[in-house]
Amino acid sequence: MNPSTDPLVWLSALLTLFIFSFLFRDNILYQFAEHLFVGISAGYLIAITWHNQMLPNLFEPLFLQGNLLYIVPLLFGLCYFARFIPKIGYLVRLPIAFMLGWGSGAIIPAIFQRDILRQTQGTLLVRDAFTSWDTGLWTVIILIGVLSVLIYFFFSKERKGILKPTANLGIIFLMLGFGASFGYTVMSRISLLIGRFQFLLGDWLGIIR
């Protein structure tokens, strides 16, 4: 055992233990660590946004370099604050309309490409998918899964005849998907715990290398 002599490591370890203490019950040490985290996060975000965004992208070009074109984004940005003054509150619609229009134009074609065209292509039984027996089998399973889940979410016709077993098959595929997601979530949470224990046992106490 070779405990760290770095006071920052000790501070970090104590804050970790304060947060872990919530597992027993809510207490003042946990609340202290939680409030400290929220405060530091907010302060950090404000500082980094100012230095990385506001200063180089607006204030320096406008006020130091005298580029008057930047008055337009400044005014647009200020319109967001109009919400606090009821008389001119409608001005907030200007930047929101701009963002919605620009954002939709930029995002919709890309989403269509990423999530619909390429995903539909990936579901088709093309010759390349059957280069080996296992990839061919998985391609067929994916196709059956996609079709049965789509039928499960098709509500315009009563589930009778072939639709009923197909929709039930869709439920099985959905449950397998949820199970995989849950398994990965457990894996993720255990990983976070491992990370903290690696810090406590390694960096702090020096038990592991």
């Binding site: 597992l23 027993f24 950090y44 975000l45 980094i48 946004t49 990385n52 965004q53 180089p56 954002g103 930029a106 995002i107 074609p109 890309a110 989403i111 490409q113 990423r114 390429r118 995903q119 292509q121 990936g122 994916i142 998907g177 995989a180 997601s181 990965y184 979530t185 457990v186 894996m187 993720s188 255990i190 990983s191 976070l192 715990l193 491992i194 990370g195 903290r196 224990f197 690696q198 046992l201 038990i207 592991i208 290398r209």
Partner: protein, 280 residues
């Protein structure tokens, strides 16, 4: 209360202690359980392994925060080691405000292991807010979005970024992503719109969401959670690119034992549930 009823009412503190021990003990006394490298990780490794000193730079985006460090930071270290051992040039950036601190920490460690020079072998662009504008802008002109690097040096004066214009001047993009903005945005703008090759490292929570994109070939390769990080560490180690510390590999025994304990608790809970239900 009979035995089966007790099984459904195990105090949560007991479960916490058992899981803590299951995670802690293998960290102190490693078991050395085998780790199988999955094809998705192999594909990302092979893509980077095919690059060399004459290749265009690899862009690594650190889209994560300290909370997801145990899963994504080992990936960052392993990929940096792989690239630097192969003399592949690297440009690092972040879409998360907490990303630059973590990226800088890695960039103070790994380049010294391989004697790499800032500006010539690697560059650090830092963080920018506004993912859509950033990623679309980079497709047009990277220096328009990042006129200066993280330290305020103009990109025109760095060897590595001097001639860089847009995604076409990159070999590939690797996003290490803990959520949004992250892999979805990179696929949406850099891959779907500009056809840039994208590799992804994600926290295990997001892994199931990325799978469909790997199957269609929209993603070069995938590293999923700490397991993915350990797979990449193994590949880099087996490729004789690094003898450095492998934190994800170190954690995998604890990961497996943790999963085992959770499975045992799920089975115990279900036995108790079905046994008590039958009595009712």
């Amino acid at each position: 209360m009979d035995f089966f009823s007790k099984l459904t009412k195990i105090p949560r503190q007991v479960i916490y202690v058992v899981i803590a021990l299951a995670v802690m003990i293998p960290l102190i006394i490693p078991i050395g359980l085998p780790i199988r490298v999955m094809p998705k990780a192999e594909r990302l490794y092979a893509a980077i392994d095919s690059l060399g000193a004459r290749s265009k730079p690899v862009l690594i985006s650190c889209d994560f925060d300290p909370q997801s460090m145990p899963e994504l930071y080992p990936m960052l270290i392993a990929i940096l080691r792989h690239c630097m051992a192969r003399d592949v040039k690297i440009v690092v950036m972040a879409l998360w405000p907490q990303g630059p601190g973590l990226a800088e920490m890695a960039l103070t460690q790994v380049p010294t292991e391989y004697d790499k020079e800032y500006g010539k072998d690697y560059a650090f662009l830092g963080y920018k807010f506004g993912v859509t504008a950033i990623l679309l802008g980079m497709g047009d002109n990277i220096k328009g979005v990042f006129p200066v690097d993280y330290y305020g040096t103009p990109l025109d004066s760095l060897d590595i970024t001097k001639k860089m214009r847009n995604y076409k001047d990159l070999s590939m993009i690797v996003t290490l992503s803990a959520g949004d903005p992250g892999w979805r945005a990179w696929l949406l703008y850099a891959q779907a719109r500009y056809h840039a090759p994208v590799g992804i490292g994600v926290t295990a929570v997001s892994a199931a969401d990325v799978y469909p994109y790997v199957e269609t070939g929209q993603v070069i390769g995938l590293l999923a959670g700490m397991k993915g990080a350990s797979e990449y560490e193994i590949l880099v180690h087996e490729g004789k690119y690094s003898e450095g510390k492998r934190t994800a590999v170190q954690g995998m025994d604890a990961q497996s034992l943790g999963h085992l304990i959770i499975m045992v608790f799920i089975i115990i809970g279900n036995i108790g549930y079905f046994a008590t239900r039958r009595k009712k």
